[in-house]
């Protein structure tokens, strides 16, 4: 019995590993945040995405702090209170009511504090689209998106429709765009990460999502609710451009 314990103690790996793993994880996390990839939720290009990323940081930093605290406390306790004498029985402590109250109330207060920006943000981003928002009707279908522009009509009065299969859908930059989401089959989820979080496209239950692109560019998105065989291929690209270029694009599309 004693020999086995001695053998284990000679394994310094056991002490260092958790710390190494933790450090590696943190390094990964930090390096992950500032890579410029097409759907990076931290590389925000619009007001909505930016506010959402900010709110995420509000919870991420305290969470990381608590994580480091708990994990290092566990490692320290395993080192400090490791059995040294197999016959030693430590004092039998059954608890401490003050401590219990402290670690019930303190987290509750902290967490409810977090709740304030959350609710504020829900109402902020959850408002109806404004009157002068540019309207696009989005239809989700297995496995593509149709973008209908009611403001652009041809000679017959039919609106311009662009399919995600044919090419990117364009939007005006610096202007609120209201996407009216409709599904003709199953539930999809409309998502352009750099502009903002997703909203589900539910049959019989239409939703509207407003987004603003702060700078011109091409933004990648894709269906985020499993919708069947080619769910992974239900992608889309949105190009944000100044009003004049945007209208030129629309004219060109109508001409085709």
């Amino acid at each position: 019995m004693k020999a086995a314990f001695l053998k284990l103690r000679t394994l310094p790996l056991g002490r260092i590993l958790p710390v190494l793993v933790l450090l590696a994880l943190l390094a990964i996390l930090v390096s992950g945040c500032d890579t410029d990839t097409p759907q990076n939720t931290f590389d925000t290009k619009g007001e909505v995405a930016e506010k959402q990323a900010e709110l995420f940081y509000w919870s991420m930093w305290p969470a990381l702090a608590i994580m480091i605290f708990v994990l290092s406390a566990l490692v320290i306790m395993l080192l400090r209170f490791r059995e040294r004498d197999p016959n030693h029985v430590p004092p039998q402590i059954h608890g401490n009511t003050r401590l219990e109250l402290a670690w019930t109330i303190a987290p509750a207060v902290l967490l409810l504090g977090l709740g304030i920006p959350v609710v504020a943000s829900i109402y902020d981003l959850g408002r109806e689209p404004s009157e002068d928002a540019f309207v696009i009707n989005v239809t989700g279908q297995r496995f593509s998106w149709d973008f209908e522009y009611p403001e652009f009509t041809d000679a017959n009065g039919d609106p311009l429709v662009v399919s995600s299969l044919a090419g990117p859908a364009h939007i005006p930059v610096d202007r609120e765009v209201a996407f009216y989401l409709r599904s003709v089959d199953v539930i999809h989820s409309f998502w352009i990460p750099k502009l903002g979080g997703k909203l589900d496209v539910v049959p019989n239950d239409d939703n509207v999502l407003w987004l603003i692109a702060d700078e011109p560019g091409s933004f990648s998105g894709q269906c985020a609710e499993f919708c069947g065989l080619y769910h992974a291929d239900m992608r889309l690209t949105v190009v944000a451009e100044p009003e004049d270029e945007f209208e030129a694009w629309a004219d060109e599309q109508m001409a085709e």
């Binding site: 793993v21 990839t37 894709q222």
Partner: protein
């Protein structure tokens, strides 16, 4: 109703009686098929769920291989979708739930000082119905043309969202197998839930008041209550789906005005309590392991118990956090955002109390402890990422991404599976009389710990980089390839650790170091009886005087407050002596095949509903025969 005499004995009844006598030989196949002994049912649960763990793991490895590189072509999209559906369904319903049941069965009667559960035959019925449902569900694989790579398994996700779950979008029988299979598993869980509540409330040894019960028993009780209230809800959702798919009803048919969100509400009203059904048993297990190996009582026992109960209640009020992006509106999202934030409080209380248990202890770093501490650490990470999910509007970005996949694997693998493995290492000596090899246990832990973090930590990143769940492939320009490659390497590391565990198990069960009745210097009643326990558990039903009663038989505090062994405290020896003469007079319930017969009816009904209605009455007849036979046969066959 032992008084009900069945005067005429048909040949069938005679044959059954003969089989029952044959089953008295515990090592025969009939002995296992007819067993009503909670310990053997527990072993059956454990072995079956471990086999399904391997199946679900192989599914995961296939998925990870496909995703290792961009534009992978190991699997086609159809195979991928069916495999991830089965992976999720298997791990939830066929692994964590039944493996927890294995522990309930093995331990609850021993921990409360009972000779068996309240309804031994209902217990057997639970197990056989679970097994029937599990095999039925996996049989779906073979209904396609499996040798040319066409799988028949369900393809609608483990969550089976409407209207994708309707026949028009998921044709074939895959989703039929899914809905009918889970229905069977639900019946099994319900039967188990009822049984354990009655057992815990009613079968406690004298002096075993509720607040002297081990925390594991408390967590079993809370879990069982969650089961009996959550399972009916999913049963109704599945019945509605069954009527839609099989008989053209309109519950989720948008064309007839149905609302697909009805499914989500019901699924998650079940699904969130289900999350705690999966994790609370593991919490119970580590609440037993930590005190034993720290050689201190559980810190803040009443707080750990009450926070478990609080979690049970609160789990009913958070289901909409699975639905933040469905457009339910600001009020619903705010209310459920706050409730979700608050459920972190009782969970945090548990973590702090576990840390308080370790503090000031004399910690023996053995395999069970390593898994228990691993559970606390990994669950903490999962819980904290859960808090980041409760930030509703930022969750609009994370919903249905790999960030969520990372989160719940930290909770359900890092939490539940690590905890369950800890339980296996801890109680293996009790039920086999031998230790699992300690060195292999350490290597297993570190391999699994590293593999686990390699697999799932990068998923936080790939999720935040915008990678949605359930996609069968991705292109190389998304910046996800490195993280996915790391995840895949990690997954195979986990597989290696599980392989090592199997080797350890196989060797140790035959040649492991022999363990006595009380190998870990335990605190609870199961360590007072021999390893493995006799069929009747306790030669004499113990009388309990305090929490951690067995500890107090072995140790006392001297005048200076130091803890010293009670010299005469050879509780184990005296107990063993009792067994030499005891035992014989104790009548245990006879084996019974009726639960097995009744359980067999369910797959007949389900198969009949899909392929040929003629099988439906056959199935119902089996169920009826099983139940009538069950009601009529005496529980204990007269000698």
């Amino acid at each position: 109703m032992s008084s009900i005499a069945v005067p005429r004995r048909s040949p069938l009844a005679q044959a059954l009686k003969g089989a029952r006598h044959a089953a008295e030989n515990r090592n025969s196949i009939l002995g296992w098929l007819g067993t009503v002994d909670h310990k053997r049912i527990g072993i059956l649960y454990g072995i079956s769920s471990f086999i399904f763990f391997l199946a679900g793991g192989i599914e995961a490895l296939l998925l990870r291989t496909q995703l290792a590189r961009p534009d992978g072509n190991v699997l086609d999209p159809d195979q991928f979708n069916r495999l991830f559906t089965m992976h999720g369904t298997t791990m939830v319903f066929l692994v964590v739930m039944p493996m927890s049941s294995a522990f309930f069965n093995l331990l609850v009667p021993l921990m409360i000082g009972a000779r068996d559960v309240a309804f031994p035959r209902l217990n057997a019925f639970s197990y056989w119905t679970f097994l029937a449902g599990a095999i039925f569900l996996n049989a779906s694989f073979f209904t396609g043309d499996i040798f040319s790579g066409v799988l028949g398994a369900p393809d609608g996700g483990w969550f089976g969202y409407a209207p994708l779950n309707l026949r028009q979008y998921t044709p074939g029988h895959g989703m039929d197998f899914w809905m009918l299979g889970i229905q069977m598993l639900g019946i099994a869980s319900l039967a188990g839930g009822f049984n354990f509540i009655v057992t815990i409330l009613n079968m406690r040894a004298p002096g075993m008041t509720l607040f002297r019960m081990p925390v594991f028993v408390w967590m079993t009780l809370v879990t069982s209550f969650l089961i009996i209230f959550a399972m009916p809800v999913i049963a109704v959702a599945l019945f509605e789906l069954s009527f839609d798919r099989l008989f053209g009803a309109n519950f989720f048919n948008a064309a007839a005005g149905g609302n697909p969100l009805l499914w989500q509400h019901m699924f998650w009203l079940f699904g969130h309590p289900e999350v705690y059904i999966l994790i609370l048993p593991a919490f119970g297990i580590i609440s037993e392991i930590l005190p034993t190996f720290a050689r201190k009582p559980l810190f803040g026992y009443p707080f750990v118990v009450f926070s478990g109960i609080a979690i049970g209640f609160m789990s009913w009020g958070v289901w909409v956090h699975h639905m933040y992006t469905t457009g339910l509106g600001t009020i619903a999202n705010s209310a459920f955002g706050i409730s979700t934030i608050l459920i972190a409080v009782p969970t945090g209380v548990k973590v702090f109390n576990w840390m308080g248990t370790l503090w000031g202890g004399s910690i023996r770093v053995r395999a069970p402890l390593m898994f228990a501490v691993g559970t606390v650490a990994m669950f903490t990470i999962g819980g904290l990422s859960g808090v980041t999910h409760s930030m509703v509007t930022s969750d609009y970005q994370q919903q249905d991404t790999y960030y969520v996949v990372a989160h719940f694997h930290y909770v359900l693998f890092g939490g539940a599976i690590f905890g369950l493995f800890g339980g296996i290492y801890y109680w293996f000596p009790k039920f086999t009389g031998r230790y699992l090899n300690e060195t292999m246990g350490h290597v297993h832990f570190w391999l699994m710990f590293i593999g686990f973090n390699l697999t799932f930590f990068p998923m936080h990143i790939s999720g935040l980089l915008g990678m949605p769940r359930r996609i069968y492939t991705y292109s190389g320009d998304m910046g996800w390839d490195m993280w996915n490659l790391i995840s895949t390497i990690g997954a195979f590391t986990i597989a290696a650790s599980v392989a090592l565990f199997i080797v350890n198990f196989m060797i140790s069960v035959r040649r492991g170091k022999e363990a006595g009745a009380d190998p870990w210097d335990g605190r609870t009643l199961e360590w007072t009886i021999p390893s493995p326990p006799p069929e009747y558990n306790f030669a004499e039903i113990p009388t309990v005087h305090s929490l951690d009663d067995f500890w107090h038989q072995k140790y006392r505090e001297d005048e200076t407050g130091r803890v010293v062994p009670v010299l005469a405290g050879g509780a184990v020896e005296t107990e063993t002596e009792h067994h030499e003469e005891g035992g014989h007079g104790i009548h245990m319930p006879s084996p019974s095949f009726m639960p097995l017969i009744a359980s067999l009816g369910f797959p007949f009904v389900a198969t009949g509903l899909m392929y040929d209605y003629a099988l439906v009455p056959v199935g119902f007849a089996l169920i009826l025969i099983g139940f009538y036979g069950w009601a009529m046969e005496p529980a204990t066959e007269e000698e």
